[in-house]
Amino acid sequence: MLETTLCGVTLKNPVIAASGTFGFGAEYSEFFDVSRLGGICTKGLTLHPREGNPGLRVWETPAGMMNSVGLQNPGIPVFLERELPRMRTLGTAIIANVGGGDLEEYVEGVRLVSGADGVDIIELNISCPNVREGGMAFGIKCDVAASVVAAVRPVCAKPLMVKLSPNAEDITAMAVACERAGADAVSLVNTFKALAIDIHTRKAVFDNVTAGLSGPCIKPIALRMVWEVANAVHIPVVGIGGIATWQDALEFIMAGATAVQVGTATFVKPTAMLDIVDGLERYRADEHLTSLATVCNILGTVPKL
């Protein structure tokens, strides 16, 4: 049994579609039964609609990709009216990813989403590297991040999971600060701030110059960060970063993750998450484990040499 409890919410399994890689769930419903997933994180939502970034938005790298979408979304009111009712029929946990350009937008956004039926968890996005104001600006310094979490906490009636940026000055201190400010869980990591240059035009590939790196290339660093954070906080940690196989997912669980999110791998193969669910279940059965909790954080706090 892969059933997993995250912030009091029961997930069928610990495999969640990562924000920004699964739309609002409708697109991939054409390819597989998305009710087999543990949950779906929505595309990053902001109170006001955003058109996102101009110019090229994707660039491939060895074992990865960079994106510069810039939080394009229809705005929270349109999400609540048009997308959420459809999402609620998908038969899996719904995690609303909420971002903002300033503190007021975060608070109002979380207040609106929190009041909606059918949202199970709110994932606070303080880690988008692709918007100039807001997004990751709130995810670099501990005190700034903590102030956002503290501001939305009173208006958030749902479990509050904070999505951390690997670009934080100190991601462990950041996680601790968010926990103290009232976070019920942390998810990590978002994409790494990265750069690509077109040597022919002698300019940055992206209009925004830097963009967010994801995919298998970031996995070992993300795994290290999850392990460090899991051993520093007392709230659940959701592991994200380059997970493409069930073995990858299991590594994150062994590093201390209660659940995992999968993003880029879905682009490579639409049904990648089902393979991960099936692989984890086979492993659990083969190892005669009652649940994967048995191996969660099995690495523990290994003393460094």
Binding site: F31, R57, E60, T266
Partner: protein
């Protein structure tokens, strides 16, 4: 025409790989997944690298085959060109919204630049040959044009180096005033010119856009294009758009 539902299929057998000219190939695979004119597949012929599959338009469809006409542009298409009969590919598709064939009535111009001719054969097979003029531009040696002549269509060619047809761009031998409907596919500046000419002449124009993609299904928003109705997803809202709605200079 009913739009087939998309699927992800692995181990699809390669029936043939034809080298047409220079860097242009035609790949035919055994699949019953079909597709309508203007739709595309995410195609993959490798294990790990490059990370993402490549969006390739449907060149022609039969009951149990799909063909892709493609140009080698980078590592992905280069690996596709290495495929041989009996090899396999992974396909996700058919994807996107293709040409609005129900609107194609009267005198029709198909205006293409380079590999933009790829999706047009599939479309041409659905049209009455006597009504269609194909105006195809190439840098140098033309390719994949004889099949339109074989259908009985009027084919006019422009080449930049003058090796065949009229020397120059296809847009220089295209007069939108004599057509009721125009469809186009090719490089963005060329399609922008076609769209401009059509707008001036009052001829409706459908344009099939190309974009770098990640998911191909509408989930990731990396292939967006600017339109008068806001950003649209080339993969899911297109790839075929009303040319008058596209903001070409964006």
């Amino acid at each position: 025409m009913t739009v087939p539902s998309p699927a992800h299929v692995e181990g699809v057998t390669v029936l043939s790989q034809e080298h047409l000219t220079d860097d242009v190939y035609r790949l035919t695979v055994a699949t019953t997944t079909g597709g309508t004119p203007g739709q595309f597949y995410m195609v993959r012929a490798w294990e790990r690298e490059p990370l993402l599959a490549r969006p390739i338009s449907v060149h022609s469809v039969d009951e149990d085959t799909v063909s892709f006409l493609y140009q080698v542009r980078g590592r992905g298409t280069e690996l596709l060109s290495h495929l041989q009969q009996g090899g396999t590919v992974a396909l996700t598709g058919p994807l996107g919204h293709g040409f609005h064939t129900e609107e194609l009535r009267g005198r029709i111009a198909i205006v293409t630049g380079g590999i933009g001719i790829a999706p047009m054969f599939c479309l041409a097979r659905t049209l009455p040959p006597g009504d269609v003029t194909v105006i195809a531009g190439f840098k140098s040696t033309p390719y994949a044009v004889a099949q339109f002549t074989d259908l009985g269509m009027d084919v006019r060619i422009a080449t930049e180096d003058g090796c065949d047809g009229t020397r120059g761009f296809c847009t220089e031998i295209f007069d939108p005033h004599i057509y009721d409907m125009v469809v186009t596919c090719g490089p963005m500046p060329m399609m922008a010119r076609v769209a401009h000419l059509c707008a001036e002449a009052g001829a409706p124009c459908q344009a099939s856009l190309e974009a770098h993609m990640a998911c191909g299904v509408g989930a990731c928003l990396v292939c967006s294009c600017a339109t008068v109705l806001g950003n649209k997803r080339v993969c899911a809202d297109g790839p075929v758009f009303d040319a008058a709605e596209v903001i070409w200079h964006a």
